[in-house]
Each structure stands twice: as structure tokens, then as C-alpha cells.
């Protein structure tokens, strides 16, 4: 345990060091240019100082990004338009709606595919093809279609976009999971004269649970990406995606990076949450511990 903590910390420190080094390197051009205008020659230590706290750095330093994160989460009121908690909440809501929709669609399609050869032949190729279309190309179309269909606001189209991304891992995992019972296990149910519904609920469904959780962890991260992409097309003013876009438009890299980190932290938190639910569920279902 102590050794793994040590290893994790070592990697973390190495990443931070690389980040600082890259910041010095990438921001030095602007610092040198400014110095030249002033007719100064910078020593290396002066140069390093000059790259640490630029207002519009090419690459913000870790302390700038985490300072901004701290500033826009803890220091701001959560109702403020500048609070990342506020924007994160907007994004989280859409993510969870999209995720719920994607999971339901994924499971229903998986059940249909497992029970029907026709469905397998007709749905599976389209499901695969659907994932080859770049979501950035599709997202604006979904938003436009939703608004022309008279749906107010961004909530529904964003949820559809994130569902579009997350149904697929659920579908693939559940098809595999529902098919995981062995011939003996299925034959056993036949010897009991079990009905199709009983085979499904007492055998196929529980057998697929480990597969489902693996898919859910991928799916929730995909749903978050989908929501953020849905927030990117111009016009959005709320959500982490909108923060990234606004940061880009106003030439504020610190804002972009802090929104990126907020999204990553949110995704990490969701994946960890599902990992915990998975552990608790599988333990109740007798997983070896």
C-alpha cells in the first residue's frame, strides 16, 4: 500500500515538473520578446520568473490553473455565472440524463440483439457505424434539429448527444454479458422447464452484471464528453463546454485549462463512484474478495 502511494506520488511529481518545464519553454518566446522591446537581456532565472504568471500564457502553469480552479469553485458563490461549480452542475445534469437515456437504449438494444437474429443483423452494423461519425460534426445538427422540432433550451439535445456516445459501450458489454451463460447453465434452466422470462431474469441478467459495470464506467465518461461537445457549438453560455469555448474566444487559456481540469475531475469522480457501486454490488453477488 505504502509502495503504491509512493509510486503514484512520484508519477504526479514528475508530471508537474514536466508541466512547469514545458510552461517555461512555451511561454519564454513572449517573455523574451517583451524584454527585447524594453532593451533588456534576461538571465535564465529571470526568464523562468517571467514565464510563471503571464496573463495570456501559451501554457498556463499548474499554480495558475489550480489557482483559477480554487478561485472559481471555492471562492465564488455557486450561483455565480463565473463559478465552475455552477457550470459543472449544468454539465453534470445533462450528462446524467444522457447517460440514463444511453444506458436504457443500450440495454434494450442488447436484449433485442441477443434474442433476435434479425435485430442482430440489422442493428449491430448501424450501431458500429454510428460510432464512426465524428460527434463534433453531428452535435450542431442535433441541436439545430432539436430547436426546429420546438424543443426549448440546450438540455434535451445535449442529453441526446451524450446518450449517442454512451449507448454503444453499454450495448456491446450487455450483448456479451447476456450471452455469457454457458450451454450447461442454459440446459439446466431447460430441465426445470423455466420460461423465457425466468431464463432472462434469473440467469442472463445476473450473469451480465459484471459486464454491465465495465460498460457503465466507460459509458459515464463518454456521456460527459458528449455533453461537453454539445456545449461547444456557438450560442451555449452555460456548462463546462461553454467555459472552454468562451475562454477560447477571449484568448484566456487559464480559463480553458481550468474548465478542462474541472471536466476531468468530474469524470474521474463519476468513474470512481461507479467503481464503488460496482464493488458493493458484486460483493453482494458473491464476488470473491
Amino acid at each position: 500500500m505504502m509502495r503504491s502511494v509512493g509510486a503514484v506520488l512520484t508519477v504526479l511529481v514528475a508530471l508537474v515538473v514536466i508541466w512547469y518545464a514545458a510552461a517555461v519553454w512555451m511561454n519564454s518566446g513572449w517573455a523574451l520578446g517583451q524584454a527585447e522591446k524594453r532593451g533588456e537581456v534576461l538571465s535564465f532565472s529571470q526568464l523562468v520568473v517571467e514565464t510563471m504568471d503571464q496573463k495570456r500564457p501559451r501554457l498556463p502553469t499548474p499554480h495558475q490553473v489550480f489557482g483559477e480552479l480554487w478561485d472559481t469553485t471555492v471562492e465564488k458563490k455557486v450561483t455565480s455565472k463565473r463559478s465552475l461549480v455552477f457550470h459543472g452542475w449544468i454539465t453534470l445534469q445533462s450528462t446524467l440524463w444522457g447517460f440514463a437515456l444511453g444506458v436504457v437504449v443500450g440495454i434494450l438494444l442488447a436484449v433485442a440483439i441477443v434474442y433476435s437474429r434479425v435485430m442482430e443483423l440489422s442493428v449491430m452494423p448501424w450501431a458500429v457505424i454510428s460510432q464512426t461519425i465524428p460527434i463534433v460534426a453531428l452535435a450542431p445538427m442535433i441541436i439545430v434539429l432539436a430547436s426546429s422540432a420546438g424543443i426549448e433550451g440546450r438540455g434535451v439535445p445535449k442529453a441526446i448527444i451524450s446518450a449517442y456516445l454512451c449507448f454503444f459501450p453499454v450495448l456491446v458489454g450487455m450483448v456479451k454479458g447476456l450471452r455469457s451463460p454457458s450451454r450447461d447453465q442454459l440446459d439446466l434452466m431447460r430441465t426445470y422447464g423455466a420460461s423465457g422470462a425466468e431464463v432472462f431474469w434469473k440467469l442472463r441478467m445476473p450473469a451480465s452484471v459484471p459486464y454491465l459495470f465495465a460498460s457503465l464506467k466507460i459509458g459515464i465518461a463518454a456521456a460527459l464528453v458528449g455533453t461537453i461537445v454539445g456545449e461547444l457549438p456557438t450560442g451555449a453560455i452555460r456548462g463546462l463546454g461553454a467555459r472552454i469555448l468562451i475562454g477560447d474566444q477571449f484568448g484566456n487559456p487559464i480559463m480553458i485549462w481550468s474548465a478542462l481540469f474541472a471536466a476531468a475531475i468530474l469524470a474521474g469522480g463519476l468513474v470512481i463512484l461507479f467503481g464503488v457501486i460496482e464493488r458493493l454490488t458484486l460483493r453482494r453477488m458473491g464476488a470473491a474478495r
Binding site: 450447461d184 426445470y192 422447464g193 450473469a207 458473491g286
Partner: protein, 258 residues
């Protein structure tokens, strides 16, 4: 003693890409009530296929087969038999008790009745106290005993066992053989038992059916002279060795002309 299982000229041909495979050809056999019949033969001789036909898990392509006087499929739906597979096949997400409850749930027994039966069959296979354990917490032999308990839970008169101890080591297998024999004496069930082991077949059975492959058929049926009450030491007796020799000969004959 009426026949519980009656097969007449039973045949089963699988169509494969390499042409038809005669898994069973003209198999005729009567199994009486309370008999313990072992099926022995090399792989491909159709012993498992025959068992699966009795269980209506395979459809014969010729001949006739009745189980409890009904067609095999009717017998299956009437829950005439309990089936024990080679792999214990306990559901890993259910405790031992819940595994035994599985057929009972499907057959619509009340909760109280389920509980009473779980206790009773766990006692029969000497697994009392393991009801709340998950399968992975049990040894291979204990898992197989739990799967036998599951097959016993709903009072089917016939027990079909497909190499139930094939994956277990010799010592565990000896112990389980004694237990199965005791169980058979206590419950008076009709047992059809597929095995690879000559010792196991001779020790357990009242009737030994020797089979041979290509096409799968019966080459010899041997009635055992031993009384139901027998210990592992009968394996040292001359009669036992004589029957084992006859089984071995039957197996050899089947392989030579194949």
C-alpha cells in the same frame, strides 16, 4: 418392477459439415424403478447423448423413448428428473442455499417450503451449515454435492448424472461415490450415471451399460451381483474384479471393431 425409462431402437444422427454423425444407433434399454444404471464407454460413444435424450435436451431422430410412461419432453415438463452436469454449474452470484432454491422458485414453491427443502437436501449431501456460503468458498467436491442437492430439491424420482465426479481427484471421488450410494439407498431414486471410470461404474451400479463409438451403441449390459449395501472394500473382492474385467473387455471389443 416396471420400466421407468424405456428406449427402443433409439437413434440420433447429427448432420455436420463432414457428413452425418451417428451419435446413437439402435439403442434399446429398460431401466427399472430404483435401479442405479451406469453408462461407460470412450468419448463419442453416445453415453452423454443418451442421457440428454432422456432429459429431452436432445431430440432422437429414430426409435422410441418413454420416461415415466410419457414422452421425454412431457417428462421434462412434468419435472420427472433432476440433472447433474459434469461442472457443478452453481450460479456464482447465488449462495448455496439460493442455488438450491433456483428450481424451487421456478416451480413455484412457497418461501417456507423452499426453506424447509433447502435444509433437508443440504442435510442429505452433508452440507448443513453451508447454506449462506457462496460457491467459490466451497471445494470442488462440495460444489458438486451442492449441485446434487439442487437436483434433489424438487423430489424428482429420476436423477440423471453426467460424469458428476469426472473433474475431481481420486480420494474425493471415492468419498462422493460412497455418499451417492447412501443417498440412493435412502431416497430410492432411479439413477442414470455416466462415467469414464470402470471402478466407479462397477462400484455404484445395479446395472452397467457398456457402450462403444461410431456409431454409438450398447455392446454389453452387466447386472451387478452386489447388494445395495456395499462398502468401498467390495472393490477387493473377486466378483468385483471379474465384473471390472468384463467391462474392460466390452470396452476393448467396442474399440477394436471401430
Amino acid at each position: 418392477m416396471g420400466s421407468v425409462i424405456s428406449a427402443r431402437d433409439l437413434s440420433l444422427t447429427f448432420q455436420t459439415n463432414d457428413g452425418p454423425v451417428h451419435a446413437l444407433k439402435d439403442v434399446s434399454l429398460e431401466i427399472g424403478k430404483g435401479e442405479f444404471v451406469s453408462f461407460i464407454g470412450p468419448s463419442g460413444c453416445g453415453k452423454t447423448t443418451f442421457l440428454r435424450c432422456i432429459a429431452a435436451l436432445e431430440e432422437p431422430t429414430g426409435g422410441s423413448l418413454t420416461v415415466n410412461g410419457m414422452s421425454a419432453d412431457e417428462a421434462r415438463r412434468a419435472r420427472a428428473y433432476g440433472y447433474v452436469f459434469q461442472a457443478a454449474g452453481l450460479y456464482p452470484w447465488r449462495t448455496v442455499g439460493r442455488n438450491i432454491a433456483l428450481p424451487l422458485e421456478i416451480m413455484g414453491f412457497s418461501k417456507a417450503e423452499q426453506q424447509e427443502r433447502i435444509g433437508r437436501v443440504l442435510d442429505l449431501v452433508e452440507l448443513s451449515g453451508f447454506e449462506k456460503k457462496f460457491p467459490w468458498q466451497l471445494s470442488g467436491g462440495m460444489q458438486q454435492r451442492a449441485s446434487i442437492a439442487r437436483a434433489l430439491a424438487f423430489d424428482a424420482d429420476i436423477l440423471l448424472m453426467d460424469e458428476p465426479f469426472g473433474a475431481l481427484d481420486e480420494i474425493v471421488r471415492d468419498h462422493l461415490n460412497e455418499q451417492v450410494l447412501a443417498l440412493w439407498r435412502r431416497t430410492q431414486k432411479t439413477i442414470a450415471f455416466v462415467t469414464h471410470s470402470i471402478d466407479e461404474a462397477v462400484f455404484l451400479s445395479t446395472k452397467i451399460v457398456v457402450m462403444s463409438p461410431r456409431p454409438g451403441r450398447i455392446t454389453d449390459v452387466i447386472e451387478s451381483p452386489f447388494p445395495p449395501e456395499r462398502g468401498l472394500d467390495v472393490r477387493e473382492t473377486p466378483e468385483f474384479i471379474e465384473i471390472a474385467r468384463r467391462v474392460r473387455e466390452g470396452l476393448r471389443a467396442g474399440t477394436v471393431d471401430a
